[in-house]
């Protein structure tokens, strides 16, 4: 194929590269376009008129616009895992091999079964679904059908194969929009040496200059834009990002932008991200986002072939595409004449130019008349015809009072270029909390007072003339640079635009229908909101812009009302007899145009969702058969397989049992490095700890450890751990793994805010020390053998339970030894500097070999702590008091501490509160799982009164030979020896359980102290 089948391609002109033809497919059929085309321009060049179906009525639709506001031409781009539904064909740069598919139609774009909705449209008015589908057979029946009919494109269930990333940037002046105003602003600021960033949504700079035939000092204005672009690239402090949309202004004037790094390529090359999200922190923001043309609202204004006038000029001038062969132009402003002249210049027959105004005869009118165009004013297109493509329209005189005068005249045409005026893109101004003010001259909202540091200029400020855009840009760019300390603030001289004077726009928000014809006038094309829908909303009292939006779905489509909101709000204002500004507009929120979720997520995907914390001993575990488990951010050993063994349920069960048995009967070692370790130093350290723990720490001797319990200010248990006094003014606190960061933050809070008079410093040393718990009857033998001779005496006399020594070394590595135990065995916690952790671990393993030492993981540790009745996360659930956990005696009555003020609350001292107990199955073998609920009578009618719940369970305690559990049971301590039901209805289980003391092993602590 050659370019010759591009039946609607103009023979000359355009900014396309005719030497680079590109093949692409739409709905399976192959077409050709050129480099520089968008998908929309390439489809139009090939005479493709229907590209999509509307949301509700499934009406055939063609390309309406040439920009990001496109409501109709939405396609599924690419396919498979890379499918991108609802992609605006107007924003897709054509690439070789592009595949696109029309959407929201079945079985095909041409024959869509749901077009029946269009015939039923009189029933499917705004909000019809609120009034029906309530009776037989119920909403569920109808909903399935409605959901299938609704939606637009199809998503995929396959993972996205592409990558994304986030970039942080700082600059002095950020300019959003690379049209004439933005270019001028960037130039003026950039020339001062300020750090400038310029964001442009499309692939190149110039904005409307790329689409229009305006001139500056007699030469095409685009030449100026090209020169400006060259100059900017050469300025060392200027960064120009094309294909980048500034989609939102957030607090602190931080701008979010998305750069489409590889969307113009078939697939991203290896190592290239698909999109990049920018956080830009500018000192000044200049918004030069341009304006969006509004369609006129007339009968059949959605027919394929009705197009925005400005888009017609874009297709003609930039893409060298004739969007039709016989045109009617209709407008309420001078853009009609401008467009008609461009059409004529491109050799396209302009059948009729229609001006809805009564006072539009200015310089542009004169030019059109002089060019021999057939112009009629005080008239409008009152209905357009042609289901699958425009065939003609009625042109009818207007009576000046909202009605028609005389009969319509049918004008054959395949293109209607329509302009209802332009709406400034004030989105970013509004994101930053700026107000919108109504400007009658252009019949649109313009930026009112806004946030300091954000200035909107050019067309986005309602100043559409090229000379105004340039003047705004140069002036505001220079001022912004000056505000950042660059330049004098004097604006460079702007080139002179050769502009005709403009006759004022006369707003017309809806055009009456052809007399005697029933017409559908679309305000919101995508969601099929018609003038009648707005009238209905008004009739039913949905008159505020928010109610209007929500009731009719006006502006809720993928275009977010960019082409429809102004007309919709104006129509409602008219119905209410109120001025438009009194009716208001909806609030703009980011994003300006839709942004891929992956771009927001950036690199935080898959494994990289959150950092993984590995202990200093990680590599040893990995090399020795460990099975890791995710414990919050940490990877911790769960259990260890035998060499060469594959993981299985049986292997796991055996490994865990062996690890417990080894530890209880011989010796075990486990990695406890993830426990929070906080160094506490200072003259007031003891006093400080005495205030944050509910038990006493003021008189803890040097060289001793103590178990401490921390409460929150509300009196409930926060965290626990052992804290050791290493020197008079030096303590080492340990916390649970989960609460480590939070406890440190709390300590800092008390020191900096509450008790600044205390001279104490705290610092996390969790990662500085590898922690290993050595436990079991032979722990002392192993430890003694591992220590370098003479560095420490670890005999029971020299280092009794809760003793601490810091003098020892292992293979020359200084270690701290704490005689504490979580398992209830004779135990030592050995801390070694993290970098030597593995050496010390291996020394302990080596010393333990003759004793049959086993490393044990979290599972074995969990079983042993349940056997001992030690509380952990499931018991420290943020709802328990010290007394609930059997730790009530720890709470001192001799001092004040955090949380004490609340402990007397009636609910906390209620004797019916659940208390920590042990549970064993009466049958001696059925595991009572955590999450079971304790009840007196499982057959009671619902709601069944609850006595408590099982917090932790061991499916088998190797030590006692049957399953054991811990539970919180109402009046639990009084019920020891009684039986209760443990029910687990989600597993259809009920188990008879006997209540026991929470400690199943060595209740007197003989092993611990031995």
């Amino acid at each position: 194929m050659t370019g010759s089948d591009q039946s609607h391609r103009l023979p000359t002109g355009g900014a396309i590269d005719r030497r680079r033809p590109l093949a692409f497919r739409f709905d399976g059929r192959e077409y050709r376009g050129y480099a520089g085309d968008t998908l929309a321009s390439a489809l139009l060049a090939n005479g493709v008129r229907v590209v999509g179906r509307s949301f509700k009525y499934h009406r055939p639709r063609g390309v309406l616009t040439a920009g990001p506001e496109e409501p109709n031409a939405l396609v599924e781009l690419r396919g498979g895992a890379r499918i991108e539904p609802n992609t605006r064909a107007t924003m897709v740069e054509l690439f070789h091999g592009l595949e696109a598919t029309s959407q929201n139609r079945w079985p095909s774009l041409r024959f869509d079964a749901l077009e029946v909705n269009d015939l039923l449209s009189r029933f499917l008015v705004a909000g019809f679904y609120y009034k029906t589908f309530m009776g037989f057979p119920g909403w569920h029946f109808w909903e399935q059908r409605i959901r299938a009919a609704a939606g637009m494109g199809r998503g995929t269930t396959e993972p996205d194969p592409d990558g994304y990333e986030t970039m942080n940037a700082h600059c002095d002046v950020l300019v959003v929009g690379g049209g004439p105003a933005g270019l001028a602003a960037a130039l003026a600021a950039g020339r001062t040496g300020a750090r400038v960033m310029l964001l442009e949504e499309t692939d190149g700079l110039g904005g409307r200059l790329r689409s229009d035939r305006e001139t500056l000092n007699g030469t095409p204005a685009m030449r100026w834009a090209e020169a400006a672009a060259f100059e900017l690239v050469d300025l060392p402090e200027v960064t120009v990002l094309t294909r980048t949309t500034g989609f939102g202004i957030y607090d602190g004037n931080v701008v979010g932008a998305v750069e489409r790094v590889a969307d113009h390529l078939p697939v991203p090359p290896a190592h290239m991200v698909r999109q990049r999200l920018w956080h830009i922190r500018p000192r000044r923001v200049i918004v030069a986002a341009g304006a969006i043309e509004r369609p006129l609202v007339f009968g059949g204004n959605d027919r394929p072939g009705v197009m925005q006038a400005g888009a017609v000029r874009t297709y003609l001038n930039r893409y060298a595409v004739a969007p039709g062969r016989q045109a009617v132009v209709v407008a309420n402003n001078d853009d009609g004449y401008r467009t008609a002249l461009d059409l004529a210049a491109a050799g396209i027959h302009v059948a009729q130019v229609v001006d809805t105004r009564s006072a539009g005869r200015g310089e542009w009118w004169r030019r059109a008349v002089d060019a021999g165009l057939d112009v009629v004013d005080r008239a409008a297109v009152t209905n357009a015809y042609g289901r699958m493509g425009l065939v003609g329209c009625d042109v009818t005189r207007l009576d000046g009072n909202g009605g028609t005068a005389g009969n319509g005249r049918f004008v054959p045409c395949d293109l209607i270029a329509s302009s209802g005026g332009w709406t400034p893109s004030i989105h970013l101004h509004s994101h930053a909390g700026g107000k919108a003010e109504w400007d009658d001259a252009i019949a649109a909202f313009v930026p009112g007072p806004g946030r300091a540091g954000v200035t909107t200029i050019g067309a986005a400020a309602g100043r559409f003339a090229l000379s105004d855009c340039l003047a705004d840009g140069f002036r505001v760019g220079a001022e912004a640079a000056r505000d950042c300390g660059f330049g004098s603030g004097t604006a460079p001289d702007a080139p002179v635009a050769d502009e005709a004077s403009v006759a004022p726009l006369q707003a017309i928000w809806s055009v009456p229908g052809t007399p005697g014809r029933k017409v559908k006038r679309f305000v919101d094309h995508q969601d099929d909101v018609t003038v009648e829908d707005i009238e209905l909303a008004h009739r039913e009292g949905f008159v505020s812009v928010e109610h209007l939006k929500r009731y009719t779905t006006l502006g809720m489509g993928t275009d977010q009302g960019k082409t429809s909101n102004t007309a919709g709000h104006a129509l409602m204002a008219g119905l209410r007899g109120r001025p438009i500004p009194a009716v208001g507009t909806t609030t703009f929120r980011p994003p300006y145009t839709p942004v891929a979720m992956g771009a927001f997520a950036g690199r935080a995907a898959g494994r990289h969702l959150a950092p993984i914390r590995r202990t200093a001993l990680h590599d040893w575990h990995a090399a020795n058969g460990v099975v890791f488990v995710e414990a919050g951010p940490w990877l911790r050993p769960q259990y260890y397989l035998r060499p060469g063994e594959t993981n299985s349920r049986e292997a796991m069960d055996r490994a865990i049992t062996e690890e417990v048995v080894a530890t209880r009967t011989r010796v075990g070692i486990s990695d406890v490095s993830s426990l929070g370790k906080i160094d506490v130093q200072g003259p007031d350290a003891a006093e400080f700890l005495n205030r944050v723990y509910c038990n006493g720490f003021a008189r803890l001797p040097v060289g001793k450890a103590r178990y401490g319990l921390m409460l929150r200010e509300d009196g409930l248990v926060d965290d626990d751990g052992t804290t050791s006094r290493l020197a008079d003014t030096h303590f080492l606190m340990t916390t649970t793994t989960v609460h480590a960061a939070e406890v440190l933050a709390d300590l800092e809070w008390y020191l900096q805010v509450v008790w600044p008079e205390l001279d104490v410093r705290v610092s996390s040393v969790t990662e500085q020390w590898a922690g290993m718990a050595l436990a079991g009857p032979r722990a002392r033998d192993v430890l003694a053998a591992a220590l370098d001779p003479g560095t420490a005496d670890v005999s029971n006399e020299a280092l009794p339970f809760l003793g601490v020594t810091t003098t020892a070394t292992v293979r020359g590595v200084p270690v701290r030894i704490f005689r504490i135990s979580f398992s209830g065995e004779l135990g030592y916690e050995v801390n070694a500097p993290a970098d030597w952790g593995i050496d010390v671990w291996e020394a302990l393993m080596h010393a333990g070999e003759p004793h049959g030492i086993r490393p044990y993981g979290l599972e074995a540790m969990g079983i042993m702590r349940i056997e001992k009745g030690h509380v952990a996360g499931a018991e420290l659930d943020g709802r328990t008091t010290p007394d609930d956990l059997g730790l009530g005696r720890m709470a001192s009555t001799a001092k004040w501490y955090v949380g004490r003020g609340m402990l007397g609350k009636p609910a906390y001292t209620d004797p019916d509160r659940p208390k920590l107990v042990g549970l064993v199955p009466v049958d001696g073998r059925t595991r009572i799982r955590a999450g079971a609920i304790l009840v007196a009578d499982p057959d009671a009618p619902t709601p069944i009164p609850k006595l408590g719940h099982v917090t932790s369970s061991a499916y088998l305690s190797p030590t006692v030979g049957h399953p054991i559990s811990l539970a919180l049971l109402a009046r639990g301590r009084e019920r020891i020896g009684e039986e209760v039901w443990a029910v687990f209805p989600t597993r259809s289980q009920r188990i008879r359980a006997r209540v026991t003391e929470p400690c199943f092993v060595d209740p007197e602590g003989e092993k611990l102290h031995g």
Binding site: D251, G252, H279, E713, A745, V753
Partner: protein, 97 residues
């Protein structure tokens, strides 16, 4: 992004900080003399103003200072910032509410 001027680190994104709430709440200085009502007010009750709000932000990913910030809760504008012991300019904006 709320940009918080940390007294030690300069202006930083708010996501470097952990929000620590109302800074007008003063913990009873003499706990023994405090009534249950005093504790209740301290732990549970909040003015929660719309407008100027005196609050703490903990610079957890920076210098770890608790920064006292006066911020407008309606606009998120930061009006002043300092250390906990500082009297911030405009602090009376909230106090006078």
């Amino acid at each position: 992004m709320i940009r918080i001027p940390c007294p030690y680190c300069g202006p930083r994104d708010h996501d470097e900080f952990s929000y620590a709430g109302d800074a007008t709440k003063v913990r009873p200085a003499d706990p023994a003399a405090a009534t249950p009502e005093d504790w209740h007010r301290y732990v549970y009750l909040r003015d929660n103003p719309r407008g100027a709000h005196l609050e703490y932000w903990h610079h957890v990913q920076g210098c770890r200072a608790y920064v006292k910030v006066l911020r407008d809760t309606a606009t998120h504008e930061v009006l002043a910032a300092g250390l906990p012991s500082d009297d911030l300019p405009f602090e009376d904006l909230e106090a006078g509410r």
